[in-house]
């Protein structure tokens, strides 16, 4: 169900032709033990020009804290419609968030970038914690985040 809704959310934002072709992609985000409360994470995609395309997932339920996900918030203005149906709980230190989505083939090797913004209560906001180009070759290669994310991988 989640993956279906995620697809819908993404498709509403994307106007890429040839979207009919999609494949299931698993996004695995492992947090390090940064010694704080649960982290809010926003996963979203920008195009080659850096413009916001759509959101993939929002970990964290209280919209009043979304402003701390600065990149995502600046791109969407905190619009709840962007994450309708693709919102889950915040992710505790040392925990792993795993989500599976149907991502359009057209997103890969076309200059799109997947971003993760992170924020933790009473700790430094970390926009662009991860910014990784979506490529077929890049799938399965773990990337380290700047502050809270020990590894991120999509495959």
């Amino acid at each position: 169900m989640k993956s279906l809704l995620a697809t819908l959310a993404l498709t509403t934002a994307l106007t890429v032709p040839g979207l009919a072709m999609a494949r299931p992609v698993t996004l695995t985000t492992s947090l390090n033990t940064y010694g704080g409360g649960g982290a809010y994470l926003a996963l979203y995609v920008t195009d080659a020009s850096g413009a916001y395309v759509g959101s993939l997932w929002m970990a964290g339920g209280k919209s009043k804290y979304y402003e701390h996900l600065r990149g995502w918030y600046a791109a969407t203005g905190g619009d709840p419609a962007q994450i309708n149906g693709i919102t889950g709980a915040s992710v505790g230190a040392g925990r792993t968030l795993e989500i599976t989505l149907d991502l359009a083939d057209a997103l890969f090797d076309a200059g799109y970038t997947l971003h993760i913004d992170a924020a933790v209560e009473d700790m430094r906001d970390s926009p662009n914690e991860v910014a990784v180009p979506l490529t077929a070759a890049g799938a399965g290669a773990p990337v380290q985040g700047r502050r809270y994310i020990a590894s991120f991988v999509y495959q």
Binding site: G35, G36, G37, G61, K62, S63, K64, E67, A74, A89, D122, M123, R124, D125, N128, R146, R147
Partner: protein
């Protein structure tokens, strides 16, 4: 009503509120610790200066934050690794780790959500709501008990644990109200129920596109003092389109990184300001001293929880089980009870049961809860009222007369009052009579003229029942057997006999202190935790009603002591004086807080004659703090009934008794205790001027004589025994 509003949230939320209170109290320490540990602020420093200093030490600086407690923290990102530290604003250099305190975080999570996330937040919010209800209803109860809000800090009477509960409550009520209200506000804010979200400055239309303007010369930062700083975020490294973001206690703005000029600004909204103030009041972040005070106050919550539960248990014990009690709103007959020791409740239960068997819906309530509006369907009101002391309202009838006086009109349902008392006292059923007079003056219709029951007489009660039945057109057979109180067995340890020579056999009887369970001690049951001046009810063989004697010892003395004089034909005194060591009697304890010496260092003037010396001797024995005590003791003859003669000499040598004046009534020149009082008038007046409390114990005639003598002594000072009495400085235990 208020009491129920206080009791049920209290009992239900006891555990929750205790967790909230203890974790909150522990958390209250952190803001002060942080303030003490934070590096010294630099007077008059601007954010421009601070930012420049920190940036000089830490390349790759991303953000500077200042907590309300004054701790400045910096975050940077250099060479692919993040770093953070607490900063000394004078140098910009590191001054300790910025990692959050694990203990504080754990406590915070427990305090706000029990580690259960949003569900836990709601549970804890319910706890805070319970705390608020408790604080407000408790404050109303304190005011009611003290006789109005103006008497908030009036002196308290009554046994523990009730006194401790109220003493703590009147100090804590305001602080707890504040903590609970702010907690609810913060929960509402967390769940987005308040319009206190952040305002964001408008995105700048255009930025200069330049970078690396020197921080110390940025105009937008130069006039901002560090003390108002919340957060200063740097642009992404290398992104010329990005801006600095500055948050202060006034709002949030964006600053051009190429010119140092403020591009846009958003003020804090009034809602945000209120929320920030509330956050500060609740957490003590930015108000560390207030935080500590609130934390300390919060520690009283578990104590009040335990004492409150004990009060509830003791209250249940003191009142019979009112099964089938109809709700006030449906009641046809309302029975109001004014009881001190609890026996009148037993009569009320019998009456209610008989009326119920006659098909009536009956509501039984204490007189203190009198509120005609709560029983609109009542067809009659029956009041069963005992009397306390010299005509005062008994415990469960406090405030009744005031409530009656405040009514605009008398209730429509007619009234019958039945007084309970002991005919051997002059104030026999005085309170019932006063209530009757007040009701008549108010124009309250009478169902029956007032009647009385002497010494819990079942016959008197049955007779009144028949009269009531006639008035109701209902055969009413009241067959009340006073419940024999749950009595303890007391074993006589020793006896000292006096008075045989003056044909007045008297004995000081000392019983072993019965083993009291911890439970009985805490809940005030059994013969435990008593003081000299409390009453011991002895249940003689062949009688249902106890006879009361003043206790001449406190439980700390390790024994139970009374002084008994044989009355001709007296059932109880006869049995007691025949008692030999090793033999036992059945007894109950009744507290008499009105006749305690109390704390304080003011002098005591103790006046007693005959067996009245008992409680006074107990007070002197317990006077370990060497409070000045002047004892006036009247006896018949020093060779025959000088009760406690040796003890008094010893206590005087030890400093427990300052001065002893005796009066001998048998002899050529009969001399009574009031004569001794007059002879020492100057001494007595001096003591009273310095705040002395007068305690009188003995026969009625003696007490009357003493009152007259005191009248004369007090008159030149513009005082009367009545004014002293009103101030709790003149108390009597008269029989």
């Amino acid at each position: 009503m208020i009491r129920a509003l206080h009791r049920w949230p209290g009992l239900l939320a006891l555990v929750l509120v205790t967790i909230l209170a203890l974790s909150g109290a522990a958390l209250s320490v952190f803001p002060m610790a942080e303030r003490l540990a934070a590096p010294q602020p630099v007077a008059g420093q601007s954010v421009a200066d601070l930012a420049a200093r920190v940036a000089a030490v830490h390349p790759g600086l991303e953000e500077i934050r200042r907590t309300p407690s004054g701790t400045i923290t910096a975050w940077w990102f250099v060479g692919g690794t993040p770093g953070s530290a607490v900063i000394d604003p004078a140098t910009g250099a590191d001054d300790g780790s910025a990692d959050p305190n694990g203990v504080e975080r754990w406590l915070t999570t427990l305090h706000r959500s029990l580690f259960l996330d949003d569900g836990g937040r709601l549970i804890m919010a319910a706890g805070a709501a319970a705390m608020l209800v408790l604080a407000l209803s408790g404050a109303a109860l304190v005011a009611r008990r003290a006789g109005g809000w103006r008497h908030w800090f009036a002196r308290l009477r009554g046994p523990q644990p009730g006194r401790l509960h109220v003493e703590l409550a009147r100090v804590a009520a305001l602080g707890l109200t504040l903590s609970a209200t702010t907690a609810l506000w913060m929960t509402a804010s967390t769940f987005d129920l308040l319009p206190d979200g952040a305002q964001h400055p408008a995105d700048p239309v255009a930025v200069s596109g330049q970078m690396a303007f020197p921080l110390e010369r940025m105009t937008a930062l130069q006039d901002v003092p560090v003390s108002s700083l919340r957060k200063f975020s740097f642009p992404y490294a290398g992104d010329a389109q990005d801006v600095f973001t500055l948050s202060t206690d006034a709002g949030t703005g964006q600053i051009d990184q190429g010119t140092g000029v403020l591009l846009s600004w958003a003020e804090l909204t009034p809602w945000q300001r209120v929320s920030e103030t509330i956050y500060m009041l609740h957490t003590g972040q930015g108000a560390a001293v207030l935080g500590l005070i609130l934390g300390l106050i919060t520690l009283s919550v578990p104590v009040m929880g335990v004492t409150g539960a004990l009060i509830w248990i003791a209250g249940r014990r003191g009142r019979p089980d009112l099964r089938n009690n109809a709700p006030a709103g449906r009641a046809e007959t309302v029975i109001l009870v004014g009881s001190e020791g609890g026996s009148t409740w037993g009569f009320a239960a019998t009456l209610a049961q008989a009326l119920r068997e006659g098909g009536q819906a009956v509501h039984v309530a204490p007189m203190s809860a009198f509120d005609p509006a709560s029983h609109p369907r009542a067809e009659r009101v029956l009041i069963l009222a005992a009397t306390y002391g010299e005509g005062d309202a008994p415990a469960s009838a406090r405030g009744f007369l005031d409530r009656l006086a405040r009514l605009p009109t008398a209730p429509a349902a007619p009234l019958a009052i039945l007084g309970f008392g002991d005919r051997s006292f002059p104030a026999f059923c005085a309170f019932a009579a006063e209530a009757e007079a007040a009701a008549r003056a108010k124009g309250w219709a009478a169902l029956l003229p007032m009647d009385t029951v002497d010494r819990q007489s079942p016959q008197d009660f049955a007779r009144w029942g028949r009269a009531l039945g006639d008035a109701l057109g209902l055969p009413l057979d009241l067959n009340h057997r006073p419940a024999r109180p749950a009595a303890d067995s007391l074993t006589l340890v020793s006896r000292r006999d006096y008075g045989a020579e003056v044909q007045s056999p008297t004995a000081i009887l000392r019983f072993a202190l019965p083993k009291a369970t911890v439970w009985a001690r805490l809940t005030g049951g059994g013969i435990a935790g008593f003081r000299a001046g409390d009453l011991l009810g002895i249940l003689p063989e062949g009688a249902a009603v106890p006879r009361f004697y003043s206790l001449a010892s406190g439980s700390r003395d390790g024994f139970v002591e009374i002084v008994v004089k044989k009355h001709p034909g007296g059932l109880c005194s006869g049995q007691l004086l025949a008692l030999e060591p090793g033999e036992a009697v059945r007894a109950v304890l009744r507290r008499n807080p009105g006749f305690h010496a109390g704390r304080g260092r003011a002098p005591l003037i103790l006046i007693g004659a005959g067996t009245g010396i008992g409680p006074l001797a107990g007070i002197i024995r317990a006077n370990a703090r060497r409070r000045p005590v002047h004892l006036f003791f009247g006896m018949r003859h020093p060779d025959s009934d000088f009760l406690y003669g040796d003890d008094l000499a010893k206590w005087q040598a030890e400093g427990r008794l300052t001065r002893l004046s005796t009066a001998i009534s048998r002899g050529v020149r009969p001399h009574y205790v009031q004569d001794a009082l007059r002879a020492e008038a100057a001494e007595v007046a001096k003591a009273i001027r310095s705040g002395a409390k007068v305690m009188v114990c003995g026969g009625r005639d003696m007490a009357q004589g003493v009152a007259w003598a005191l009248d004369d002594i007090l008159a030149p000072m513009g005082l009367t025994p009545a004014t002293l009495k009103a101030g709790g400085r003149y108390v009597e235990d008269v029989y």
